[in-house]
Amino acid sequence: MSEPLLQVRGLEKYFPIKKGVMRLTRGHVRAVDGVSFDVREGETFGLVGESGCGKSTTGRSILRLIEPTGGQIIFNGKDVRKLGRSEMRKMRRDMQIVFQDPYASLNPRYTVRQILEEPMIIHGLYGGSAERKKKVADLLETVGLSGSRMNRYPHEFSGGQRQRIGIARALAVNPRLIIADEPVSALDVSVQSQVLNLLDDLQKEFGIAYVFIAHDLSVVKHISDRIGVMYLGKIVELAPADGLYSKPLHPYTQALLSAVPVPDPEFKRERIILQGDLPSPSKPPTGCHFHPRCKDCMEICKTTAPEWKEVEPDRFVACHLYN
């Protein structure tokens, strides 16, 4: 198999907790605590987990929107964390982001044309203004909007249309990887599937790889090739989408999947209700982070952190049940 497009190795982001008059660091919030995964050229890697499990921080760390505190991010053979400013700017052409909130992600004082032209100007793509204008119209058509609306402002569009504009902005530099940070969570269900289909079409057309971050397993299933399940700053299970859904290994994944609604009123299934709340990432439980809420908790889980192991080809899990 060829070299993956993106390799994340032991990514860490600790936020210091400062207390007292002297603002001394009294501990850390381990938002991302040793996350590793690969994204291959043209595939979709889904990243799921509860709110606050660090999935957005992971996505933003990869783009260095948040400076990670540890680990390696190897994109296209280069360690992103070691790049200088100008190299980083070049690298940004290949890595883009689509945000969750389509109302906050577009500058309200820019017209759609200005929004889409800006990346082209910054990277000196497409010669003159006429050529850029044509490209802007093309981009809008690509995401299913009319090119004639380019002189309008974001507030004149609906949420779904704005999200399309956000996607068009990401596409403007012909990236190879797009981090989609819950791109449909803020949209109406009817619009969600349109945007998901658009992302899918774009992937087929341009061969873009996605890191698709979501808290909704049914959304991720629809679009992902492989899925990583995050819990409290760590990936607990990583598997191809089909395998994960047909045979979840980690008890946390099982609990998540049991909560996905099934469109069949006759279907009865055992819901696994998670006990308690998500623990604070500043004081994670000892041993396996998941043990206080786990239905299969054993003695060893309380003391020793499980190893990250490949239990089947291309299936990784961190759980003592499989050690």
């Binding site: 933003r60 929107l65 890595m95 982001i97 500058n107 402002y153 507030h155 004149e156 403007a172």
Partner: protein, 302 residues
């Protein structure tokens, strides 16, 4: 295809609305609907007009004393009478507005400029820079204001419009600076600013193209509110004898001169008009500020 169908739908929607509604136009529309703000705007226009066009309304020179005509009651020649030095009160009132408004507007713009630069740097860079800069602001905010002005005037050994503007700007900037820092901190985390980072925009591009244009609405509100504050402040300082010298016509100076027990009772025509002008100016500028705040509110829908 679904994409194609949507595209067609978008095209038919196109014919319904023709005018592009820029954020500015929307804000203007909202402002015009606020009656109090519009009234304030026109009141202020009238005040500015009568002070700028003062020679049209009075033949007298506001700095020419006439000892033959001191303390005259209102008459056809002197509609507001004359004061103890023989100045024509109406001329002082009209010309005085020039000074008061210039000082207030200039001081407001100066404090804003300092505030935006200082607060912008502090908020944009954050971290220890921010910490250091904000501690200095804390010190400045706790500085006793009036002794500071006394000290500055003693150092520069003069009083006048320029010194007043300088003094007010040097003492009043920490408030706006802290405010602008908050705005920048908030903007820094906005998705569209992060989006600009991911497309490779430079720091300066982000500051000048993405952040500053989005602070203008807050700035306009802040400027109008501080103009109102400084009109009162100038008048107050001059009243205390710390602002403008009495040879320069100003509303605060007129109040100061009339502020003895006898004049207050016997010559209401000498101090009520400047007091009214101060109140009217402050009120109308405040209403404009309120109107601007509502007009720029992004949550408001037309």
């Amino acid at each position: 295809m679904a994409v194609q169908a949507l595209h067609n739908k978008a095209k038919t929607g196109e014919t319904k609305r023709k005018r592009v509604q820029s954020p500015w136009r929307l804000s203007l529309q909202r402002f015009m609907r606020n009656r109090l703000a519009v009234a304030g705007f026109f009141t202020l226009l009238v005040i500015i007009f009568v002070t700028v066009a003062a020679p049209l309304f009075t033949p007298y020179n506001p700095t020419a004393i006439n000892i033959m005509n001191t303390n005259l009651p209102p008459s056809a020649a002197h509609p507001l009478g004359t004061d103890g030095s023989g100045y024509d009160n109406l001329a002082r009132l009209l010309y005085g507005g020039r000074v008061d408004l210039t000082v207030a507007v200039a001081a407001a713009l100066m404090t804003m400029l300092i505030g935006v630069i200082y607060g912008g740097i502090s908020g944009f860079f954050g971290g220890w820079i921010d910490n250091l800069m904000m501690r200095f602001v804390d010190v400045m905010l706790n500085f006793p204001f009036i002794p500071f002005i006394l000290a500055l005037e003693a150092i520069f050994n003069t009083s006048g419009e320029l010194i007043l503007i300088t003094v007010v700007s040097l003492t009043a900037w920490p408030g706006p600076a802290r405010f602008m820092r908050g705005i920048f901190l908030q903007l820094r985390e906005q998705d569209y600013v992060l989006g600009a980072v991911t497309i490779g925009a430079s720091k300066w591009r982000i500051i000048f193209r993405h952040m500053l244009p989005n602070t203008i609405s807050s700035l306009a509100v802040l400027v109008s509110m501080s103009v109102a504050g400084y009109v009162g402040l100038d008048a107050g300082l001059t009243f205390l004898g710390l602002g403008l010298p009495l040879t320069v016509p100003s509303w605060g100076g007129m109040l100061s001169q009339a502020s003895n027990y006898i004049d207050m009772r016997t010559e209401p025509y000498s101090w009520i008009p400047p007091a009214l002008m101060i109140i009217l100016t402050i009120l109308s500028v405040n209403f404009i500020g309120d109107g601007l705040r509502d007009a720029f509110d992004p949550q408001a829908r037309t």
